[in-house]
């Protein structure tokens, strides 16, 4: 009986030490007010609906639009990359809009 208890305790201990298989936590770019990004970095964000969306990069100092990309968003987690070699500014806004041009996300980016 004693040895059975020991074996059970060991089993419980081993099981409790196993890494839990929790869902991978993604960086949600628009949940943070400010993010530091580097060239080629992946950005992730969640969309409620599938559809055409745009991401706009704005020079936050000069208040000028640098570029805008249109993409097909999926419902759920979306992953896109940001490239910074042609971006002259260090401080940017990243703005997410839906097809009706309604802003659904905005964050500050600091280019590393």
């Amino acid at each position: 009986m004693k040895s059975l208890i020991i074996i059970l305790c060991c089993a419980i201990f081993i099981i409790s030490c196993k890494k839990s298989v929790a869902p991978i936590v993604q960086d949600q770019i628009f949940t943070a007010q400010q993010n530091t990004v580097s060239n080629g970095q992946a950005l992730s964000f969640t969309l409620k609906y599938k559809g055409i969306y745009t991401l706009t990069l704005v020079d936050s100092i000069q208040s000028t639009i640098l570029t805008r990309e249109q993409f097909n968003g999926i419902a759920g987690l979306n992953k896109l990359n940001i490239y910074t070699r042609t971006v002259q500014s260090k401080y940017l806004y990243l703005i997410l809009e839906d097809s009706t041009k309604t802003q659904i996300g905005k964050t500050t980016l600091i280019v590393n």
Binding site: L57, E69, R85
Partner: protein, 534 residues
């Protein structure tokens, strides 16, 4: 110990006393003349000499060195004590005078009682005899900048009120003052004239003065050659360069100044010559009439003819317009070496150029002639600059008169929209124009792209009217736009540019691989417009 402290104190005092000399200081000797051998009053230079002669009864009351103004400007009191409660004394002030300018100096003197002033032993101005302040007497003397002259003033007080004012003005000045940088209590061992040349660049953010260096030239046999001790001297951020060390030391002068640069001229010129420059040139030319014999109304400054005469032949004509257009559209570059592209002028010459004489000031102007020293010990020369092809003078010096004004006000604003998309295995950038209420005749943009990941493929133009459309791959950006050179039609809101790139790696999206920079726009009237990307 006590001795040591006293010695140190004396040493300190002597150091301080010694430092109180040199430029701005003069030496003085106060004489007690109650028993002088010249009588009561100095009625001449000789009387002064006798009055202060220690062998003839005068005694030294005190002497020393102090700032010039203490010794040259006083009335009823003195910076230190005087003998006999302010009676029966004289002051002899000595030192050196080193003019800042060459030419006629005027000295003024007034006093109570007698006084005189001498340069190199020659009395320049005097007011001898017994009197109160009688008003200034004036004396002139021709002096050479940088030369060392002796400086002596003498003053005598017998009784009653007393004082002396001695001031001067340089050849270039209109008012009198004591100019402390021209007087010295002791003879300087060497003098290096600080000569400076100021460049009146009208630089904007594209042009950095510190990327330019000045070179000094001698002139002989109708040719300029670098001075033997020339070294390219970097212009400071405030557009000033000091050329004291690169003038010809044998001649003690330089006769010309030129520039070199570390700026990438190709990059620079893509910013200097834009659609509004080219449009203005075409409009001015067509506005002159078939024979070109009359002045157009588009150029408001004569310098614009010089900058628009891009082949430097002294004539502004169709050839220049098309050379400008070909540079804009990338068919032929106007970029060569700096000496061909940047014209230097003496500022007063530049300002005197007008619509009838401009052609004689065209051609290559890579060296601005001048002479140093110019008669002044410390001088500043103003140099105006004009960039070839800068027809609207955005980057060139403005003339004092006949200034071209191309200010972009908020009313002169138009909009453009950009969107990029990954379409199949290509990246599309679409740029559309919203001219608002403007009659737009020209637009120009740079589309910057990451050349490590994208290859430029083609540009598709959708433009109304008879515009010249251009798109040139500059390896890191595309210079593109449209220009209606004759202004007969305008670019409306159907204007669209589709620029296609092929990715060199597999992409899932292209955010940031392409960015846009609006460069320039112009309307039918030749006014520059501001493009806002929305």
């Amino acid at each position: 110990m006590k001795k040591l402290i006293v010695t140190l104190l004396i040493l300190l005092i002597s150091i301080v006393a010694h430092s109180q000399s040199g430029m701005g200081y003069l030496n003085y000797t106060i004489y007690n003349i109650v028993n002088n051998g010249a009588g009561q009053y100095a009625n001449s230079s000789t009387d002064f000499a006798n009055m202060f002669d220690l062998t003839k009864g005068a005694t030294v009351y005190s002497s020393g060195t102090t700032v010039a103004s203490n010794l040259l400007y006083f009335n009823g009191s003195f910076f230190t004590t005087v003998p006999n409660g302010g009676n029966y004394f004289g002051i002899r002030t000595t030192g050196y005078f080193i003019p800042q300018e060459t030419g006629t100096y005027i000295f003024e003197i007034d006093g109570d009682d007698a006084e005189d002033f001498a340069i190199n032993g020659t009395v320049i101005v005097s007011n001898y005899g017994p009197h109160g302040f009688t008003g200034y007497k004036y004396g002139t003397v021709n002096l050479i900048a940088g030369q060392i002259y002796t400086f002596v003033s003498r003053f005598e007080q017998w009784a009653g009120g007393w004082g002396m004012y001695l001031q001067w003005k340089r050849p270039s000045q209109s008012t009198y003052s004591i100019q402390s940088n021209e007087v010295y209590s002791s003879q300087p061992t060497s003098i290096t004239p600080p000569l400076s040349v100021q460049f009146n660049f009208n630089f904007n953010t594209l042009i950095t003065p510190t990327n330019f260096s000045a070179n000094a030239y001698d002139y002989a046999n109708n040719a300029y050659t670098l001075t033997p001790n020339n070294a390219a001297t970097v212009i400071s951020s405030n557009n000033i360069v000091d050329v004291s060390n690169i003038i010809d030391t044998a001649k003690n002068k330089a006769e010309g100044l030129g520039l070199t640069t570390t700026t990438n001229l190709t990059t620079l010129y893509n910013g200097i010559i834009t659609v509004s420059d080219v449009y203005l040139a075409f409009q001015e030319y067509s506005n002159k009439g078939l024979l070109g014999g009359t002045m157009g109304t588009y150029f408001t400054s004569a310098i614009q003819y010089i900058t628009a005469d891009v082949n430097n032949d002294g004539v502004f004509n169709e050839t220049d317009c098309y050379l400008l257009l070909e540079h804009l559209t990338g068919k032929q570059s106007l970029v060569s070496k700096l000496s061909n592209m940047l014209k230097l002028y003496n500022k007063s010459t530049y300002d005197s150029i007008n619509h009838t004489n401009w052609s004689s000031y065209s051609g290559l102007k890579s060296i601005v002639p001048f002479t140093l020293p110019s008669g002044k010990y410390n001088d500043t020369f103003y140099v105006s600059t004009a960039w070839l092809g800068d027809v609207n003078l955005t980057y060139s010096s403005k003339q004092t008169a006949g200034v071209a004004t191309f200010d972009v006000s908020s009313q002169n604003q138009i909009y453009s929209y950009i969107v990029t998309q990954l379409v199949g295995d290509s990246v599309y950038a679409t740029i559309t124009l919203n001219p608002m209420l403007q009659q737009v005749t020209g637009v120009q943009y740079h589309l910057n792209y990451d050349s490590s990941m994208l290859q430029y493929q083609r540009t598709q133009f959708t433009t109304a009217g008879n515009s010249t459309n251009f798109s040139t791959d500059k390896s890191s950006y595309i210079n593109f736009g449209s220009l209606v050179t004759d202004g007969s039609t305008t670019l409306d809101n159907t204007t669209k540019y589709l620029i296609v790139f092929k990715p060199s790696v597999k992409l899932t999206n292209a955010l940031g691989l392409i960015t846009i920079t609006p460069i320039d726009a112009v309307n039918q009237a030749g006014n520059q417009l501001k493009i806002t990307i929305n």
